[in-house]
C-alpha cells in the first residue's frame, strides 16, 4: 500500500512540526511511488517511451516488379515425379525474393508474435483436358445414354499450393523448412503430398475451372458432356501465418514463399481417414504450369504479452 496517503490539512486543524515533516518525507522513500499514488490520474503516450510493441517489421516485393501481365514473369513447372522440389518465389532471372532478417535474425521471445501476410498475382496454364488424363485423380465415369459408354468427368479438385518456409538455424539461409504448423512434401502411402492438418501456412490455388451442363436422362449423362475447361486468367491468391513461441525463443533469419503442384485432394483409406493433398503426376506436364508476376510479403514481429 502506498505510503503517500496522508490526509490533507483542513482549515483550523492544529498540526505539529512532525506532521509537516512527514508530509514532505513521504516522498523521500524508495519505492514510494506506485499504483495507489496514481489515484484517478492517467498515463498517456509520453509515459510509455521505453516500451516497444512492434519490435520489427519488414516488407519485400515478391517476384518481379510491376502489375501488368507482361514480361518479365516467372514460371513454375508442375511436378512430374518424385522427388519433389518446391519452387521458391523469385524473379524471372532466378533471384529469390525472400525476407532476410540480418545476421542476428528476429528473436521471437516468449510473449512475442510473428505475423506474416503475402499476396501474389499469377496465372495457371493448361493444355487440353489434363483432368481427364488416364488415372488422373478425381476422374470418374458416369454412364452415358448409349450403354456401355461412359462420360468421363473430373471432380475439379486439383490445385497448386503456396506455403511459407523459414530458416531458424543461421543467417546463411541454407536450411529452409516449412514454418511451424506447415509441412513440406512428405510421403503418404504410394504418393507424395501434404496432410491437411499441416497446412497452417498454405494457400491452395485453383488451376482451372471445369463447367459441365447436361440434363440427366434416366440417370445417364448425354455422351460428350465431359466438361469444358476455363482458364482463370490472372488473379491474386493471398495467405497469412501467425506464430508465437510457446517453449523457447525462436530466431528467424528469413522467410520465403514457395509454390508447388499440381495436387489433388484425397483422404487416407485407413486409420482416421485423414484428409490429404496428393501430387497428381497424371496431370503434370510442361503444358501445365503456373506463371506469376509480382506481389508482396509483409512481416511484423510484435510483443503481445
Amino acid at each position: 500500500m502506498s505510503r503517500i496517503i496522508r490526509a490533507p490539512v483542513d482549515a483550523g486543524q492544529v498540526i505539529t512540526a512532525a506532521d509537516l515533516n512527514n508530509t514532505y518525507n513521504d516522498y523521500n522513500q524508495p519505492g514510494a511511488l506506485q499504483a495507489d499514488n496514481t489515484r484517478d490520474q492517467a498515463f498517456d503516450l509520453p509515459h510509455f517511451q521505453n516500451v516497444v510493441i512492434v519490435k520489427n517489421s519488414q516488407v519485400n516485393v515478391l517476384g518481379n516488379t510491376g502489375m501488368l501481365h507482361t514480361a518479365p514473369v516467372t514460371t513454375v513447372a508442375s511436378e512430374l515425379a518424385a522427388p519433389i522440389v518446391v519452387h521458391p518465389v523469385q524473379t524471372s532471372t532466378g533471384t529469390e525474393t525472400r525476407m532476410t532478417f540480418g545476421a542476428n535474425g528476429w528473436v521471437l521471445a516468449l510473449g512475442d508474435c510473428l505475423r506474416v501476410w503475402w499476396n501474389l498475382s499469377l496465372k495457371c496454364y493448361y493444355a487440353g483436358s489434363p483432368w481427364n488424363n488416364a488415372s488422373a485423380l478425381g476422374r470418374y465415369n458416369i454412364p452415358d445414354t448409349t450403354p456401355p459408354g461412359n462420360v468421363v468427368i473430373s471432380d475439379g479438385f486439383h490445385c497448386w499450393l503456396a506455403y511459407l518456409q523459414w530458416d531458424t538455424t543461421s543467417a546463411a539461409l541454407t536450411n529452409w523448412v516449412a514454418v511451424q504448423g506447415q509441412s513440406d512434401p512428405t510421403t503418404i502411402g504410394a504418393y507424395e503430398g501434404f496432410y491437411t492438418q499441416y497446412l497452417n501456412a498454405g494457400t491452395v490455388i485453383s488451376p482451372w475451372t471445369i463447367s459441365s451442363f447436361a440434363f440427366a436422362d434416366n440417370g445417364a449423362m448425354p455422351a460428350g458432356n465431359n466438361g469444358k475447361g476455363f482458364n482463370h486468367e490472372w488473379f491474386a491468391p493471398y495467405g497469412m501465418f501467425v506464430f508465437a513461441p510457446t517453449i523457447a525463443p525462436v530466431t528467424v533469419y528469413g522467410i520465403r514463399l514457395v509454390i508447388t503442384g499440381i495436387l489433388h485432394s484425397g483422404h487416407l483409406v485407413g486409420g482416421n481417414q485423414e484428409n490429404v493433398l496428393l501430387y497428381d503426376y497424371n496431370v503434370g506436364d510442361p503444358t501445365q504450369y503456373l506463371e506469376y508476376k509480382g506481389g508482396r510479403i509483409s512481416a511484423v514481429h510484435q510483443r503481445v504479452a
Binding site: 498517456d44 518481379n64 491474386a236 508482396r296 511484423v300
Partner: protein
C-alpha cells in the same frame, strides 16, 4: 535523485512561509523531473485503469488511445455500402499498358492524425463482380480491375497525392472471357458469369507520421465492377 526536503521543521520554532514554499518548490521539481527508477516500486504496478482512456469515434469505427489506433469498417452495419470500380473513372480500357490513374474506392479509407511516428498495419478484403463488359475485350485483350492500397498526406481521403505501389496490386478478370453469343459454346454450358468473380485480400505495413489517409484505390479496364462485400481494418502502434 530522490527527494529530500530542504527544510526540516521543529516544534516551538517559527514556521516561515519561505521554508514551506522552498520545500514545495523542491517537491514540484522532483515530481516533474526528478523521479528515478529507484523511487518507483520495483514491480509492475500500472494497471489498465490507470491508462488514458481511448477516444472512440463510433461513426468511423476507429478508436485512438495511448498506444495507437485500431478499428474497422465494412460494407454492412448501419448502411449497406456496396462499392464500385470503373474504367470510366480510371480512364483505361482493355489491355492497360501503364500503371497510373488510380482512383479511390469510395469509403474504404481511414484518416489518421498520428501524434508521432507509428507502425501502421492496414488490412482489407473484398469480393467483387466484374463486368460483363461486352466491348473489344472479346477480341482477345483481357480486362481487369486491379485494387491495392494508397496513402496520401492530409486528412481528407483522396485529396492528397496518392502513393501506390503497383506491384502490390491484385486483380480480378472481367467475366466475359471466351463467351460470345453467336459463337458456341455459349449459353448455359459456358455462361458469361463463369469468371469475373473474385476475392482479394491485402495487408499494407508501413511507417507513418503526422496526418495521412490510407485506403483502397483501383485501376480498372472494365466498364463496371461491383464490390459487393468489403472490409477494412486498422492497427497503429506508436510503440
Amino acid at each position: 535523485m530522490s527527494y529530500t526536503p530542504p527544510n526540516v521543521f521543529a516544534d516551538g520554532t517559527p514556521l516561515l512561509a519561505a521554508d514551506v514554499k522552498e520545500n514545495d518548490d523542491a517537491l514540484r521539481v522532483y515530481l516533474h523531473e526528478g523521479v528515478v527508477a529507484g523511487d518507483l516500486l520495483n514491480t509492475a504496478w500500472v494497471q489498465t485503469r490507470h491508462v488514458q482512456a481511448p477516444v472512440i469515434d463510433a461513426f468511423s469505427g476507429v478508436q485512438h488511445g495511448v498506444t495507437g489506433f485500431q478499428g474497422s469498417q465494412w460494407d454492412g452495419g448501419a448502411l449497406v455500402r456496396c462499392q464500385f470500380g470503373s474504367a470510366f473513372l480510371t480512364g483505361k480500357r482493355y489491355g492497360a499498358t501503364v500503371e497510373d490513374n488510380w482512383e479511390v474506392v469510395p469509403q474504404t479509407a481511414f484518416t489518421l492524425d498520428l501524434r508521432r511516428t507509428a507502425t501502421v498495419i492496414f488490412h482489407w478484403w473484398m469480393e467483387s463482380m466484374n463486368g460483363p463488359d461486352n466491348g473489344p475485350r472479346s477480341l482477345g485483350t483481357d480486362a481487369y480491375m486491379w485494387v491495392t492500397e494508397y496513402t496520401a498526406g492530409g486528412l481528407l481521403a483522396g485529396t492528397g497525392t496518392k502513393s501506390v505501389v503497383p506491384t502490390y496490386a491484385e486483380e480480378v478478370v472481367n467475366n466475359h472471357l471466351g463467351w460470345t453469343a453467336n459463337n458456341p459454346p455459349a449459353g448455359p454450358e459456358t455462361p458469361y458469369s463463369i469468371l469475373g468473380y473474385g476475392n482479394m485480400s491485402g495487408v499494407k505495413v508501413f511507417s507513418g507520421t503526422n496526418k495521412l489517409a490510407v485506403g483502397l484505390a483501383h485501376l480498372s479496364t472494365i466498364d463496371r465492377s461491383a464490390i459487393i462485400n468489403w472490409g477494412i481494418a486498422l492497427e497503429v502502434y506508436y510503440l
